[in-house]
């Protein structure tokens, strides 16, 4: 275990806990009197308590402070000394937000950047005036200003009865200085609520060296730090974990076992990537082995090879499955997003999630999360109407928004469906005409055309820029991202009844369905996600415009790219007059081009192997793969061609 891995573990676990906090808060907001209310408060309390413990251990002072304040309020709610009303929920939600951001900042060594003073003040307003053992960073600053001192003491992790040891330390310090407060409080220490880091605020004339001496003399102490008001957060170089090893290089994927988490192992996704690649190579090797075995005519050998072949397939499937996580990992954050967006706009939205258990590749899920947030915000902002407008239109005042995930063969379909006003085709049309994007005579838009227009960078019909969905960023960003992941996107919109945005994603990133293209005797793979159609390159569709070759495809003029030329092969020499070259119409977002190749030889699921591009080499290959017959094949990076 090293510092970096601790930090990563802290981050991932804290994120989970913040999500749990948000979920429970929303449940509480819906029904603060209900039978589940007590359980919700308990759950929030436990989650915050755990974050606090971890943060204190990592030396993240601000995270610790905020979670401590939050915990104090929650403890009151738990003991029913505090009534949960909308004011309380609002403050708690704000606190959860800040906690979420702080956790990220803390790991980046920048937790000092977030000012939590007003939030802490609000949290404190929720608890009674009489308080003992106050502790805060602002308190630390005050103590420093008045000549006081804040000391942070870390106890050895293997020390027995650490809370008792902490009390001995307090006793020793108390003899030479006046202790104004401690974290944890004396009461917490007595109840053994202690994670090994003790912070003492004290005043008096005792020099630091003397304080350090008596602290260390109390035993089992590993570090003694004096916190200054100007540097409340620990220095990144400070020993965060006892006996740490030098910081490791980033790319070392490690396997970590999360303590107390049942029979689960946390595995760095990079390690899974490596496993996936290895499995891919095994599959290629298997193909050759099968061929050799059958050529050798040795029955026993062939049988053995067949058996290992089955095992290899199983192995690949298992590795693929191990990269899968339920979409709820990410989706459960969204109720909060929707609620905030709706509140900011004065709208009422009933949001539900379907298919939480559907699984998706971990990296893909992380990559698509922001896009889903865009779509949800768009739906709340532009789709769902204000309550009074809805009532006037004969709809329920509360809008309906559904996020769903379904499995469809080897793809996952994610849909965002609202029952709002739908996309105003006339306005999109008018805007497109004004911008000169489409012909002025056009009177209607197909759903495909609609998507293509909305996906244009900066194309937005929103009347005003709102805080919620920003300026025109949305569909185009989502569209680009989805395509980059090898997926596809669809829009369905019925005026007055709502809209559905669907995103279709492959199950996993490591395997890509590709068209195989031959140029001379070399093979190239073109990811199908970027292939629009293929046509024959007849002389009548090629033109030259301003010295550049273009191709006419379905009334569109597209630039023509000859792969042959790109890779420096000689001119095409057809075997016969009817042996025409092929044009693959490729697209990324709304940029399209025709890619000329000799022949399409088929489709294949290929295992992408990232490779280190030759310095100054051609930039238009995104990786390589080995085909079933063992031939190497470069993968065309379509986006760099366009």
């Amino acid at each position: 275990m090293n510092t970096l891995e601790y930090a990563e573990l802290f981050l991932s676990e804290s994120r989970e806990h913040v999500t749990a906090v948000n979920q429970a808060l929303l449940e509480l907001e819906r029904d603060a009197e209900g039978p589940r209310a007590g359980a919700c408060v308990d759950e929030i309390f436990r989650a915050v308590h755990t974050i606090k413990g971890m943060a204190a251990t990592m030396g993240y002072a601000v995270v610790t402070e905020l979670s401590h304040e939050l915990e104090t309020v929650l403890d009151r709610a738990r003991r029913r000394e505090l009534t949960i009303d909308s004011t309380v929920i609002d403050i708690l939600l704000r606190a959860a937000d800040s906690l979420e951001r702080l956790v990220e900042l803390a790991v980046a060594g920048r937790e000092g950047e977030l000012d939590i003073a007003s939030l802490v003040a609000d949290l404190r307003s929720l608890r009674p005036m009489v308080e003992t053992a106050e502790w805060s960073i602002s308190g630390l600053a005050a103590a420093n200003a008045s000549g006081g001192l804040a000391v942070r003491v870390r106890l050895a992790s293997d020390a027995p009865l650490r809370s008792v040891r902490a009390m001995l330390i307090l006793k020793a310090v108390g003899k030479i200085a006046e202790i104004t407060s401690t974290l944890p409080s004396a009461a917490d220490l007595e109840a053994d609520r202690f994670d090994g880091v003790l912070t003492i605020q004290c005043t008096g004339d005792a020099p630091r060296a003397e304080i350090e001496r008596v602290v260390r003399a109390a035993g089992d102490v590993t570090t003694v730090e004096f916190l200054d008001a100007t540097t409340p957060a620990p220095q990144p170089s400070a020993p965060i974990i006892e006996r740490v090893e030098p910081a490791p290089v980033m790319d070392e994927g490690g396997v970590r076992v999360a303590a107390g988490r049942g029979r689960h192992v946390r595995i760095d996704v990079r390690r899974l990537d490596k496993l996936m690649n290895l499995a891919g190579e095994l599959i290629v090797a298997r193909g050759r082995l099968l061929q050799l075995a059958s050529d050798a005519g040795d029955h026993a050998l062939e049988e053995t090879v067949r058996l290992s072949s089955r095992l290899i397939t199983e192995l690949r499937d298992e590795i693929t499955a191990s990269r899968m996580v339920p979409v709820s990992n990410v989706f459960d954050r969204f109720p909060r997003v929707v609620r905030d967006a709706a509140r900011a706009l004065g709208k009422r939205v009933d949001f539900s999630i379907e298919g939480r258990d559907i699984e998706l590749d971990r990296s893909m899920l992380d990559d698509i999360a922001d896009s889903i947030v865009h779509l949800l915000r768009n739906a709340v902002d532009h789709g769902i109407e204000m309550p009074e407008q809805r009532v006037a239109a004969g709809k329920p005042a509360i809008g309906n928004l559904v996020l769903s995930a379904t499995r469809d063969r080897s793809a996952i379909v994610i849909r965002v469906t609202d029952d709002g006003r739908g996309i105003d085709r006339d306005r999109v049309l008018a805007r497109a005409k004004r911008d000169g994007i489409i012909d002025a005579s056009k009177s209607d838009l197909s759903e495909d055309e609609l998507l293509r227009l909305l996906a244009r960078p900066g194309f937005s019909t929103a009347e005003q820029v709102t805080e919620v969905s920003g300026r025109g960023v949305g569909v185009d960003a989502v569209y680009t991202r989805v395509r980059a992941l090898g997926g596809a996107m669809n829009i369905r919109s019925v005026p007055g009844q709502g809209a559905t945005m669907s995103i279709r994603l492959p199950l996993t990133l490591a395997v890509v369905r590709s068209l195989l293209a031959r140029v001379s005797d070399e093979m190239y793979a073109i990811p199908l996600a970027h292939v629009n159609e293929t046509i024959e390159l007849t002389p009548d569709i090629v033109r030259t415009v301003k010295g550049k070759e273009v191709v006419l495809a379905r009334d569109e003029v597209l630039p023509l790219i000859r792969l042959r030329r790109l890779v420096g092969l000689p001119h095409y020499a057809p075997a016969s007059a009817i042996d025409l070259e092929q044009v693959v119409i490729i697209d990324v977002g709304d940029r399209r081009a025709g890619l000329v190749i000799d022949e399409l030889t088929g489709q294949e699921e290929i295992v992408v192997k990232q490779f280190d591009a030759v310095r100054d080499g051609p930039p238009f290959f995104g990786g390589a793969t080995l085909l079933g017959d063992g031939r190497p094949c470069l993968i065309v990076d379509v986006s760099s061609l366009l």
Binding site: P160, M167, D192, A217, G219
Partner: protein, 120 residues
Amino acid sequence: MSHTVLVCDDAIFMRTMVGDILTQAGFEVIGEAETGVQAVEKYQQLRPDLVTMDIVMPDMGGIDAVREICKLDPNAKVLMCSAMGQQALVVEAIQAGAKDFVVKPFQPSRVLEAVQRVLA
């Protein structure tokens, strides 16, 4: 001159073990006690430099014994010997005046470290 020690524990096994650890480290065990009452009596009689005190003993427990001893001698140096899970009792003993603690099962090095701290 070596430091003198009074070892208080109701179990012979523990007294022997603590005695051995301390003797090997150059301390002089000048007395043993099996009960709290005995511990107080022997302390008054022997005035050792150090007392090791079990918490749970018949006839006045270790905590009360610490309290009595500290009444006799506010500078008495008492090291509590606790089993796992006796956190609250250790806290109480320290509030009663004990200077430090060790937790069973004893590791000689930990016992000696604690003794050094108490005598420092």
